[in-house]
């Protein structure tokens, strides 16, 4: 078997319990959103809820909370989901630094492996873990709608759900790749997770500020969250190609930088 795939298998095997729990949580969260949406739909509360929203929020969110369909789709941009998945990606992306800290690298990298294999491994694990998370969300939504959706409710279409899932996966993957760059420099996993966590939080806030405050709009483009526009998609827009391109480019550039740095450094 290819040595990178041996490493991927090893990493996935070690984190299988954690990933299974995360997938279950993501699945359950979508069910929870559908159950709450059903309750609101049956009690005719969506109209009331829409009235309570400030106008700028209503405008920005395309009134997602004011319909069964919108509320269900909100499960793909809910801050809790976003923070959880970004934290998961940062944790996985910090693996190379963790191996240096634990000295496991002395066993691994003294085998006939290219240095880049460790970075490629983590990138593949990131893709698999994130794809698994959004797939479990998608399955959760699909099953939840089949079981709990009220007969009269307008349910979200598969294309929109898939678009949101892909955009969410790409923004989370970009954060994983950013963590990979930090891990290629660092010797301690906590340094990577703390730095990237703080950066993610800062850029998350910056993105929000940029959406409502024109002077910050320009600088908010540095935030990967800027390229995740769930409410436009919920409102009917297709998956923005430009956003996809920026997020994919971020991941690719970060992976290349991480490989170059890790290949040249002392372990």
């Amino acid at each position: 078997m290819n040595r990178v795939l041996i490493l991927v298998r090893h990493s996935l095997r070690r984190s299988r319990g954690f990933l299974a729990a995360a997938y279950l949580l993501m699945f359950g969260f979508q069910w929870l959103m559908i159950l709450v949406a059903r309750q609101l739909e049956e009690a005719n509360r969506f109209e009331q809820l829409g009235g309570l929203m400030p106008s700028f929020i209503s405008q920005w969110t395309n009134m997602v909370a004011a319909s069964f369909r919108g509320f269900v789709l909100f499960g793909y941009s809910h801050p809790v989901v976003l923070i959880f998945l970004v934290a998961l990606a940062i944790s996985i992306g910090s693996e190379p630094a963790g191996e240096i800290e634990s000295k496991f690298v002395d066993i691994l990298m003294t085998r006939p492996l290219r240095r880049g294999a460790a970075i490629a491994r983590t990138l593949i694990v990131l893709v698999i873990a994130i794809a698994g998370a959004v797939t479990s969300m998608f399955i959760g939504t699909w099953c939840g709608l089949k079981v709990f959706a009220p007969a009269a409710a307008i349910v979200p279409d598969t294309r929109t759900i898939l678009g949101l899932a892909v955009n969410l996966a790409l923004v989370v993957l970009a954060w994983g790749a950013i963590a990979l760059v930090a891990a290629s420099f660092a010797k301690r996993r906590a340094t990577v997770t703390a730095t990237c966590g703080l950066l993610a939080l800062t850029l998350f806030v910056l993105d929000y500020v940029g959406r409502f405050w024109n002077p910050a709009k320009g600088i908010s483009r540095v935030s990967p969250f800027h390229y995740f526009s769930p409410f436009a998609m919920i409102g009917g827009s297709p998956l923005p190609v430009k956003d996809v391109a920026v997020l994919v480019a971020t991941t690719v550039v970060c992976s290349v930088v991480a490989t170059l740095v890790y290949t040249r450094r002392d372990l």
Partner: protein
């Protein structure tokens, strides 16, 4: 692999600097194929840094390191495929089992690992099958060391680099490991080991190098090193004796009322007529332990032994 005339390890003016700290300075040495070589020095002397450069975990600031004629940095995949390595500090994930670690390192190794050979190693180092299937968090220090040794030896590589191989092992397993290493050397494998246990080095190694503050301060065969200390002469007297002027090349190491310990760098013949005039009860002439000789090389400023 390169022709058999090419040494297993060749270091040429190797240096490694961390900012202002010079960890390794102008280290040059060769280790021939089939040789057992002891790399000695105090903690922080530069042993592990040198070893990590050989394994391409660290990049040298100057000079070159070669294994079997191949550059350790430019041809690192090929050089690492010929090495079995036991780190001084084993970083193991506690959630893995011993079997997981052995399987992972076997799959990542260049050559195929024989299941029979691995099992023999496990048996000889007293790691029972039930232990191998336990999670590493349940392992004692000694068990981890044994597992580390098996992962280093299992691919039967032409070169073994062992950092403190017997640390944490009980005396019986230490003896077994010595036997295994002697057998490997007989089969033409090269062993490069760092150790604090000089009796072990004395027993296993053909040659030694002592590194101090990043520099090689002694490079010789074990026998030559032992002779650097001269001979030790112990004399017991029947009664208290006054000190005498010793012949050239002889010096007091310890002087008590009825017992002297001398070091003789040259022949002891000149000492005999002097001793004949004294009430000698017993006389013992012996070779110094390697430990006594090397202790002087470990010190910041070497003193005459």
């Amino acid at each position: 692999m390169a022709p058999s005339s090419v040494p297993a390890i060749s270091l040429l003016h190797l240096s490694k600097r961390y900012g202002a700290i010079q960890a390794v300075r102008d280290v040059s040495l060769t280790v021939e194929r089939g040789e057992a070589f002891g790399f000695l020095g105090l903690n922080g002397a530069g042993k592990t840094t040198t070893i990590r450069i050989l394994l391409d975990l660290l990049r040298p600031s100057g000079g070159s390191a070669q294994l079997f004629g191949l550059d350790c940095q430019k041809d690192s995949i090929r050089t690492r495929s010929m090495v079995g390595y036991l780190p001084g500090e084993l970083g193991l994930y506690p959630d893995m089992t011993g079997q997981d670690l052995l399987d992972l390192t076997a799959k990542l190794s260049g050559g195929a690992v024989s299941g029979d050979y691995r099992q023999k190693l496990l048996d000889r180092l007293e790691l029972a099958p039930v232990d191998v299937h336990r999670s590493l968090r349940e392992y004692s220090t000694g068990m981890k060391r044994k597992l580390g040794l098996v992962q280093a030896l299992q691919a039967d590589p032409p070169l073994l680099i062992l950092d403190e191989p017997t640390e944490g092992l009980d005396p019986l397993v230490q003896q077994t490991l010595h036997q295994i290493l002697l057998e490997l050397r007989e089969r033409g494998r090269t062993v490069f080991m760092s150790s604090h246990v000089l009796s072990e080095v004395e027993r296993l190694c053909d040659r030694i190098a002592v590194i101090r503050k990043g520099e090689i301060v002694l490079l010789s065969t074990v026998n030559e090193a032992r002779h650097l200390g001269g001979r030790i002469v112990r004399i017991k007297f029947r009664q208290t004796v006054e000190p005498i002027t010793l012949p050239q090349g002889t010096a007091f190491i310890d002087r008590q009322a009825t017992q002297w310990t001398l070091r003789a760098d040259s022949e002891v013949g000149a000492l005999i007529p002097l001793l004949a005039q004294l009430p000698v009860k017993d006389l013992e002439i012996g070779e110094p332990a390697l430990e006594d000789v090397l202790r002087n090389f470990y010190r910041p400023e070497p003193v005459d032994v």
